[in-house]
């Protein structure tokens, strides 16, 4: 019954969208302190390779692999974040782009560990692991009227959905606190923030590290979603793609970045019928978008208007300045 409705194709696309949402949030956090990173593909790859190597070579359970991957990437991000403090704007963007490229070249050349350009295959697949696990617990897909592949796709989707919602929840709350206020103050004027008693070193590195960690986390999930990774999965195009999610959707508010990830990951699927032109359209769309709505589709004003439309459930006000329900 249910089985008819559940199409692994849609679940697959949705799963990619969820991973992209996490990536978009990861860059949003970094951008939130005025730091522009083009190195998120690099962080993503560190996460992906860490868990892949751990699970493949050391038989580590998938969950543990992903957690360690996120932590490792967070540490790397923090280490990168410290020298990055000295760089502003475009300098930082290009330097982080450089970081991503260096990581990629390293993974290409570190043959013994990464298998070079050929990549790592046979990484435990999130869905198939869940499938095996539930089988061992006596749960069979056909108990729900599902085929195996439907069950697997559905399981992956739900796990990712829960993870994504938790991530969003975490950062929405963080934004609505003293931490979030410090982030936006730094984004607007670093020196003034410092003079007002904000430890900009701490907060900038925090944001950079959190962004990196999240990207690494997404990368680890990606590895277990694809079961195969290679350095070319994490190149310049990926870094740009991640950045564009956020800028296109709107980097002022977290919902903008999320929207960007959803829209831009889904769009190519809808544009399949004009195949040959879809990337041209994608490029042109970016140009137009910046010309007419440079702050991204969703901005602060739109969020405010949206909140006014829902007077009952007065949404959380940016930076937690707001109302009682929030507290």
């Amino acid at each position: 019954m249910l089985g008819e409705l559940i199409n692994p194709y849609y679940l697959q696309v949705s799963s990619f969208i969820l991973i992209n949402i996490i990536l978009a949030v990861s860059i949003y956090i970094t951008l939130g302190t005025g730091q522009l990173s083009l190195g998120h593909a690099g962080f993503m790859s560190i996460g992906a390779y860490t868990t892949a190597i751990l699970t493949l070579n050391y038989n580590m359970p998938l969950v543990l692999g992903v957690i360690i991957a996120a932590i490792v990437t967070g540490i790397v991000g923090t280490l990168i974040g410290i020298p990055a403090l000295r760089l502003q704007g475009v300098y930082l963007a290009i330097a982080t782009l450089g970081f991503g490229e260096v990581v990629r070249v390293l993974f290409i050349n570190w043959d013994g560990l990464t298998n070079g350009a050929i990549g790592l295959s046979g990484i435990p697949h999130l869905g198939r692991e869940i499938f095996n696990l539930s089988k061992s617990m006596g749960i069979e897909p056909d108990m729900f009227g599902l085929k195996n592949n439907q069950f697997i796709s559905l399981a992956v989707f739900f796990v990712l959905l829960i993870i994504t919602i938790s991530v969003i929840w975490f950062f929405v709350r963080q934004n609505n606190s003293r931490i979030g206020r410090a982030f936006s103050a730094i984004k607007m004027d670093e020196e003034a923030s410092e003079a007002m008693g904000i430890n900009i070193t701490y907060y900038k590195v925090l944001a950079f590290g959190q962004g990196a960690m999240l990207a690494g986390f997404a990368g680890a999930l990606y590895a277990h979603l694809m079961a195969y990774i290679s350095p070319s999965d994490f190149d310049y195009h990926r870094a740009v793609e991640i950045l564009i999610f956020s800028i296109f959707g709107g980097s002022e508010v977290i919902w903008g970045s999320i929207f960007g990830a959803v829209f831009l990951s889904a769009m190519p699927e809808f544009l399949r019928f004009i195949n040959e032109y879809r990337f041209m359209i994608y490029g042109a769309l970016l140009v137009l978008m910046m010309a007419f709505r440079p702050q991204g589709i969703i901005d602060v004003n739109m969020m405010n208007r949206f909140k006014r439309l829902m007077p009952k459930k007065r949404g959380e006000k940016k930076h937690g300045t707001g109302n009682k329900e929030d507290q």
Binding site: S177, A182, M196, I198, H319, T321, Q327
Partner: protein
């Protein structure tokens, strides 16, 4: 003594902005820092708040030297400033600006913020109350939700002061708060500074508006070409020859009128 400046010098790649300046700020007073353009007044503020390190000399706050501190640590210690060129967080609301000012008095960390612990909630409630109180003091209570950049110039200046007050300073440094204000607004500013004094906050004021300085300050330091040339009560400064020559000029009212 709240603040003690001992033999401070500052050199910017050849330009001697300050030379061996010493003075002290007494608890509870409103001390004026005046001098011609380029005399080094703003530079002095930048030294005190650790935006730049001094080339030589020592600055002590309530008896402790301030060397090797970062600007935010200075603020934590209880010194806060406003900027000559307004530097608000222009896209935040008025209230949010003030809340940011209160940042260094808050303690909650990432986990507490995300989990919304009791302590965090209480703290946030306190910030809100404090901010509203301060906005009341500076007369911006009706503009809480306005985006800072949409305020008029004079209101922005007051918001700068409010933001600095939110860090609960013992000493506040005001850099030309009256710039761009007309006489009526300047008058309001006078009242505000006096009110700050009653809150037990010491004030160090840079200002070119002489009527205001003379009225509000109990004591005045005069800089010229990076050197201290005079120190004293408003009336003694007004009659100081050197100061008149370098800075005040001769009243030309009648000539022009």
């Amino acid at each position: 003594m709240v603040l003690e400046i001992k033999k401070i010098s500052k050199n910017f790649g050849g330009i001697q902005a300050l030379t061996d300046v010493s003075f002290s700020v007494e608890e509870g007073e409103i001390l004026g820092l005046i001098g011609p353009n380029g005399a080094g007044k703003t530079t002095m503020f930048n030294m005190i708040t650790a935006m730049y390190p001094p080339s030589s000399g020592v600055i002590s706050f309530v008896g402790n030297p301030l060397s090797n501190l970062k600007p935010h640590q200075i603020t934590e210690k209880g010194i806060c400033r406003t900027f000559q060129n307004i530097r608000l967080f222009s896209d935040l609301t008025v209230r949010e600006n003030v809340m940011v000012g209160n940042h260094c008095r808050l303690k909650t960390n990432v986990m507490q913020s995300v989990l919304r612990t009791k302590a965090q909630k209480a703290e946030e409630a306190r910030v809100l109350a404090t901010s509203d109180e301060i906005l009341e003091v500076v007369g911006l209570a009706n503009d809480k939700e306005t985006i800072a950049k949409n305020l008029s110039y004079g209101a922005q200046r007051r918001l700068e002061i409010a933001r600095a007050l939110a860090s609960r300073p013992k000493l506040i440094l005001l850099d030309e708060p009256a710039a761009g204000m007309n006489e009526k607004e300047t008058n309001d500013l006078f009242n505000l500074i006096k009110k700050i004094q009653t809150l037990n906050i010491t004030v160090l004021l840079i200002e070119h508006d002489m009527p205001l300085v003379m009225r509000v300050c109990s004591r005045i330091i005069v800089l010229n070409f990076g050197k201290k040339i005079a120190e004293g009560t408003p009336s003694s400064i007004q009659n100081n020859k050197e100061v008149i020559e370098a800075y005040l000029g001769v009243e030309e009212e009648d000539e022009l009128a």
